[in-house]
């Protein structure tokens, strides 16, 4: 197909059969690709059973066979799964052929696909035995140019990112390395020009994206071309960009290597350099990694000697002597290395146990927002028979949410029933969210927006307050005779899953249940997890805009030949944002109350379960989640004061540290539980009251249950502790997404082309509520839900809001604001244009100086 068949939300209620059939077709296709890529023969062989590893040739033949069956009927995600499979096997020639042979325009035009194509052209080996070296070289040079052209087009279209700029820089350097001329003077001149061009692209790339991987290459480019002052100043900004991306807690050799080099060149403090050295030391696995960083540090120590760089270069040389080659099962030495001395493996550059604990059991999208590759997935459980689809956060999501945080609350349609204390609402409502500097104010506005969009207080007009979702359930008799309890939200979720062609309770790893967070938000169907995820993304994108703005200003100083002041006001502004983190945590809500009991089940890998028995053969009984024992509607207090898990919950924590890396503020900033049960919307927790277990897990006091709600009449404490499955960061990369599509339970959706399209859906709350109700009513497996919305929902009375109040002031006010906004935008555009112009002039001057072509 030339274009994917995207469905709109309004088609959902009529799509049960069609989507079921499409799901089945896609499942068959996904199973074929998975079988082609199976590692073992037989594919399901366990470690202790006989099997053979399948070769790359077998896998490629199987993939080629699928391609030979025809690409015409495949949608972009299916073509992408083949493209990714070839990429996983380093079959770059096959990737190029697949791109040429498919007609799917959605696939071919997707920026992420084109980036990967550019990388494939750069990496594809050329030549065969019949060709001489000159022919091979000519082919490869053509590849490099083709690769660069793809990236240049992407940059022109506004899709320039780390991969595109870096790829151009690399191609130019490779061309420089391979350039040979009879006239050696001309050859040297040409190589020099190419290296300078490469550096220009890396510098422009760093200015445009502020991505660390490009920045460190720009540093080395400056060192190689003898511009040591510029290298040092650039390194200062690269170091800060590495902090923004979470280098402090990274395990990645390349990220840490860049951060350590930048920190040494920038003259960072000894404890920072030591921490990065120890993290790098514990992340090194191969001999070449150690040799590489030792060589780079050696060059830095020689060209830019300083106490830090000389010390680290020496320590790297010492480390080489301590590295011992690991032996394989036959006793032969390998290139894997181990160290005999004890390694320091502190994840965070802090001695504060509480700070480490709360950060270790939470996650954010900071790293994703900066050097994002592909699509990240937060796993659901539909493949294991559950009803929670995989949630994905793709570049498209980040782009859409970044678009939202650049808008004003008025544009977003946020309605406040009362003014925010201490704030000029007229100003706040009409300035882009990115102009807000106070994180608390940002979160108040974001919470309002999120709760309004998810209709938290009245889900889809059904009178269900989402905070009551676990309690406000109706009983229905299912077809199998069982009594089923479900809320309006639960029922709607199930119906939407079925409308997308999925069977609830079906265990099938080939079923695509990808659900973009944008799709969930636009539809307005979200529980605590979605509230937290949207808030996290909005906050991270808002912070990224602010951090990049200051980094950009600092790097602009470098372009102007000035020094970067890492203690100046711009740097302080950066650290103020960096040290304030919002992080999402999966927690158990624990309190000393008795719970109803149920039989404990042991689950096998195939999804079957058995009841656990004690020594006497009696079933072991355990607390039943979400089911407290109640007497007259009041919690029954456990006299032994033992804490029980009332429910699993997902929320955001605000974590603030000082420059000495101490936790100075901790708070619950839950977008979900604000009105009923818990007041977690804005609850600060005294740091002294946070406890850390011997295993490093935090126990957070989270308020009290008032005595009026307990059978003893006494207040009882509430605690939050990480759930057993909370491992901090838990997302994984999805391979069949082109990074552009927005899916609802695996079904690609229309209407997400721009942030404004996204906003139009977000604002259409009545329309989406009608759609959700209609999907539920059209569901053949509806247990008995009837319409709750009036026939003309759009004409129901609307609450008078402050926003409407502002709007009611008339056109004059709005126009004035618009004009102000236009002026702000014009000023901002003019500033950026002036910057670009200045950058261009600097490039021109530099090129003229070096005799290079302009």
């Amino acid at each position: 197909m030339q274009h994917d068949h995207l469905i709109s939300f309004s088609e959902l209620s009529d799509s049960f059969e069609k989507n079921t059939s499409n799901t089945e077709k896609k499942r068959v296709f996904a199973a074929k690709v998975n079988a082609a890529m199976a590692q073992r023969e037989p594919a399901d062989a366990k470690d202790d059973e006989p099997f053979e590893y399948r070769s790359k040739i077998e896998k490629l033949e199987a993939l080629d066979k699928i391609v030979a069956e025809g690409l015409d009927d495949l949608d972009s995600s299916q073509v992408m799964s083949l493209f990714s499979a070839y990429r996983d096997l380093a079959a770059f020639d096959k990737m190029i052929d697949l791109y040429k042979n498919t007609d799917n325009e959605d696939f071919k035009n997707a920026p992420m696909v084109r980036e990967q194509l550019a990388v494939a052209y750069r990496k594809v080996p050329r030549g065969n035995k019949e060709q001489d070296n000159n022919e091979k070289l000519a082919d490869k040079m053509w590849d490099y140019h083709q690769s660069m052209n793809i990236c240049l087009s992407l940059i022109d279209e506004g899709y320039g990112n780390g991969i595109t700029f870096e790829n151009i820089g690399r191609c130019m350097r490779y061309i420089a390395n391979k350039t040979e001329m009879n006239d050696k003077t001309a050859q040297a001149k040409r190589k020099n020009e190419l290296l300078n061009d490469s550096l220009d692209h890396l510098e422009k790339g760093f200015m445009a994206t502020m991505e660390t991987s490009i920045g460190i290459q720009a540093v080395h480019g400056n060192i190689l071309t003898g511009q040591l002052g510029k290298a040092k100043e650039t390194a200062k900004v690269v170091y800060l960009a590495a902090l923004r991306d979470g280098a402090e807690e990274s395990h990645d050799y390349f990220c840490l290597s860049a951060a350590l080099q930048a920190a040494c060149i920038a003259g960072e403090s000894k404890d920072v350099v030591d921490h990065l050295f120890h993290r790098l030391e514990s992340s090194i696995r191969y001999k070449w990694e150690l040799e590489d960083i030792a060589k780079d540090m050696n060059r830095i120590a020689k060209t830019m000697p300083s106490e830090r760089s000389v010390d680290i270069a020496q320590r790297m040389e010492n480390l080489k002597k301590l590295a011992i080659p690991a032996k394989n099962s036959k006793g032969d030495e390998t290139d894997l290395i181990v160290f005999k001395h004890k390694l320091k493996e502190d994840r965070f550059l802090s001695e504060d146990k509480k700070l480490k604990a709360v950060r270790s059991y939470s996650y954010s999208y900071r790293g994703c927002g900066s050097a994002f590759r592909g699509t990240n997935r937060v796993g659901g459980n539909m493949a294991f028979g559950g009803q929670l689809p995989d949630h994905t956060v793709s570049r498209k999501d980040l782009r859409l949410f970044t678009g939202l945080v650049k808008m004003t609350p008025a544009e977003l349609g946020i309605k406040f029933n009362k003014p925010i204390q201490g704030v000029n609402m007229d100003v706040v409502m009409n300035q882009p969210l990115t102009k807000i500097k106070d994180p608390e104010l940002f979160m108040v506005i974001a919470d309002k927006f999120i709760r309004q969009t998810f209709s938290t207080q009245n889900f889809a007009g059904s009178n269900l307050h989402m905070e009551n979702n676990a309690l406000d359930k109706k009983k229905f008799n299912a077809k199998d005779g069982k009594v089923v309890e479900e809320s309006a939200y639960d029922a709607t979720v199930k119906s939407v899953l079925r409308a997308c062609g999925k069977k609830i309770g079906e265990k099938d790893p080939n079923i695509d249940t990808r659900t973009n967070i944008s799709a969930i938000f636009a539809l307005g169907m979200g529980d605590c997890r979605h509230h937290a995820q949207v808030k996290q993304i909005m906050f991270d994108m808002w912070q990224k805009q602010q951090m990049n703005e200051t980094l950009n200003d600092m790097y602009y100083q470098v372009w102007q030949g000035k020094q970067v002041d890492t203690a100046g006001p711009k740097a302080q502004e950066f650290f103020e944002v960096l040290d304030t983190e919002l992080r999402t945590a999966d927690v158990q809500v624990r309190l000393p109350i008795l719970m109803k009991q149920e039989e404990k089940k042991d689950w096998a890998k195939d999804g079957t379960s058995s009841v656990r028995k004690d020594a006497k053969g009696n079933a072991v009984m355990v607390d039943k989640p979400y089911s407290p024992q109640l007497v007259d509607g009041k919690f029954v207090v456990d006299k032994n004061e033992r804490l029980h898990n009332l429910e699993d919950h997902t929320l955001c924590w605000l974590i603030k540290k000082d420059r000495h890396r101490h936790l100075i503020e901790f708070g619950l900033r839950d977008a979900f539980y604000q009105d009923l049960h818990y007041e977690w919307g804005h609850q600060n927790v005294p740091i002294d009251e946070i406890k850390v277990t011997s295993k490093g897990k935090p126990r957070i006091p989270a308020g009290i249950i008032h005595g009026s709600r307990t059978d003893t009449g006494e207040d009882i404490p509430i605690y939050q502790v990480p759930t057993p499955y909370n491992k901090g960061k838990r997302d994984s990369v999805v391979t069949n997404s082109i990074g552009r599509d927005v899916c609802l339970v695996g079904v690609p959706l229309a209407g997400f082309a721009t942030p404004n399209d996204f906003l139009a859906m977000i604002k259409d709350r009545d329309g989406m509520a009608d759609i959700m109700q209609q999907v539920l009513l059209s569901d053949p497996e509806n247990l008995g839900w009837t319409a709750w919305r009036s026939p003309k929902p759009k004409e129901t009375k609307k609450e008078i809001s402050l926003q409407q109040g502002i709007a009611c002031k008339g056109q004059t006010v709005s126009t004035t604001k618009l004009n102000l906004q236009e002026k702000l935008n014009q000023q901002s555009n003019a500033d950026n244009q002036q910057k670009t112009l200045n950058m261009k002039n600097l490039v021109v001057q530099k090129k003229q100086k070096s005799g290079g072509k302009v």
Partner: protein, 61 residues
Amino acid sequence: MKEVVYEVSCPHCHKKNKVYVLLSDDFNEKEEFHCDFCGLEIGAVPAAEPPRTEYVKEDNS
């Protein structure tokens, strides 16, 4: 520029590979390399160009 050869076992199929890496005298960049037998990524290596891998048949027999 100089070429170095490393021997690495694939973490997926455990077959031994020779990895031919072209190193620049200056700055090297992150380049992924894949097992010549099963095709999957073994890891990344600092290199001046994408490395070449060769499955070592005699050691894997």
